[in-house]
Symmetry: C2
Subunit: 205 residues, 2 copies
C-alpha cells in the first residue's frame, strides 16, 4: 500500500463496502468479480484491478468470500478504528450530523458541536473554546464544517490552528488549506445539478 | 446534444459552474482553458474536450468569456428553469433542505414537506396526501427522499406512483426504480469513508 492509489479507486472503496454490507445483511456468502462488478456498474476486470492495488483478495473458485472481503475493505478504509469528530455550525446540517446514528456505528463519533455565534448553551459550545488543548485532550482527529459559505474559511483556519488535520466540508465553497491537511467536500448542489441535467436530458419534466 | 454524454463529463458540469460563479463574483472577465483546468485539477485538453461535447464555447484569443460561458453551462445544466420539489422525511436533513436558501436562488423550490408519520401539522403533510393530483396541480418535477434507510424504497415507490420521475435520494441505500426514473444519490458516508482512507494514508492522526 505504499504506491499512491488513484482518487477513482479510493472513491470506489466505500461503494464496494456498501454493496458488501448489503450482501452480508442478506446472508449471502460468496460473490464473483462479475456479479460484484454488475452491482457497481463497472467491469469485472476493473474490480480485479482495484483489488490487486491492495494486494488482491484471493478470489478462489467461484468467487470472493463476502465477510472476509468486507473485513479487508473495512481495514483498508480504516473502519476498524474510532474517530472523534467535532462539528462547527449548529444549523440543520450540523444537527443532522450530531444526531445521525449511522456514523457512530462505523466508529465516527461526533463528540461536540461548536458555533460561531458566541451564545453558548448546554449542547453548543462557543468557537472560542475550540483550542489546541481541547483537541488534544479529546483526541479529536476530524472536523466537520457545517457553516454557511461565508464562515467556512475562517472556521477551517481555526480548526487547523487547533491541530485538526482532516476536514469534512459541507459548506458550498472550496476552502484553502496547507499541504498536510486533508479535505473532503460534500457539495450538495453538485448532485442536484447533475439530477437537473439528467432530468432535462431525458425530458423527464 | 443528441449523443449520450458520459457520466464523468456530466459530473464535471457543476464543478465548472461553481468555479465560474466564483470567478464571476470576483469580477474576473476571461479565463484560458489552462487556468480553468488548473482550478479543476484536470488537463486543459480535458476542458476543451468536455466543451466540444456541447458544441464548443469559442475560446478566442486569450480565453473564454466567463459570463457567457457561465450562461451556456447554466442552460446546459438546466438552471434557466424552475423546479418544484417536495421532500419526504421531516428529520434534520429534510429540514435543512427546506430552509436552505441556496437552492432557491438556482431555481429549485422545495414547495412542501411530507412525513411517513401520519401526524400532520402546519408545515409537514402526511404522506397519504402525496397523490397524483397534488403532483400535477403543483407542477412538482423532483422528489427528495430524506427518510431513513428502511423507509426509502417505500417512499420512492409512492413518489413514482404519484408521477414523480426524478428523485434526489439522501437515504443511505440504493433504491430500485423503473427505467424511466432518474435517481441521484447523496451517500454521505461514502464521502466520510474517503476522508478516513485519505487520513490514514497520510498518517494524519
Amino acid at each position: 500500500m505504499k504506491t499512491k492509489v488513484s482518487p477513482a479507486v479510493i472513491k470506489r472503496l466505500p461503494r464496494y463496502y456498501r454493496v458488501l454490507e448489503r450482501l452480508s445483511r442478506d446472508n449471502i456468502k460468496k460473490i464473483s468479480s462479475k456479479d460484484l462488478a454488475n452491482m457497481l456498474d463497472i467491469t469485472a476486470s476493473q474490480v480485479r484491478q482495484d483489488f490487486s492495488t491492495f494486494g488482491g483478495f484471493g478470489q478462489q473458485g467461484y468467487g470472493y468470500d463476502i465477510d472476509s472481503l468486507k473485513e479487508e475493505l473495512s481495514k483498508i478504509i480504516g473502519l476498524d478504528k474510532q474517530y472523534n469528530m467535532i462539528v462547527v455550525g449548529a444549523g440543520n446540517i450540523g444537527k443532522a450530523l450530531v444526531s445521525y446514528k449511522g456514523f457512530k456505528a462505523s466508529g465516527f463519533n461526533v463528540i461536540s458541536s461548536f458555533d460561531i455565534d458566541e451564545k453558548a448553551n448546554e449542547t453548543i459550545k462557543p468557537i472560542s473554546t475550540l483550542t489546541e488543548e481541547y483537541i488534544k485532550e479529546n483526541n479529536v482527529t476530524m472536523g466537520i464544517i457545517a457553516t454557511n459559505q461565508e464562515a467556512a474559511q475562517e472556521v477551517a483556519d481555526k480548526m487547523i490552528k487547533s491541530g485538526i488535520k482532516n476536514i469534512w466540508n459541507f459548506a458550498p465553497v472550496d476552502i484553502n488549506v496547507p499541504e498536510d491537511v486533508v479535505v473532503e467536500n460534500i457539495f450538495m448542489s453538485d448532485s442536484l445539478f447533475v439530477l437537473a441535467y439528467r432530468m432535462n436530458e431525458r425530458g423527464n419534466n
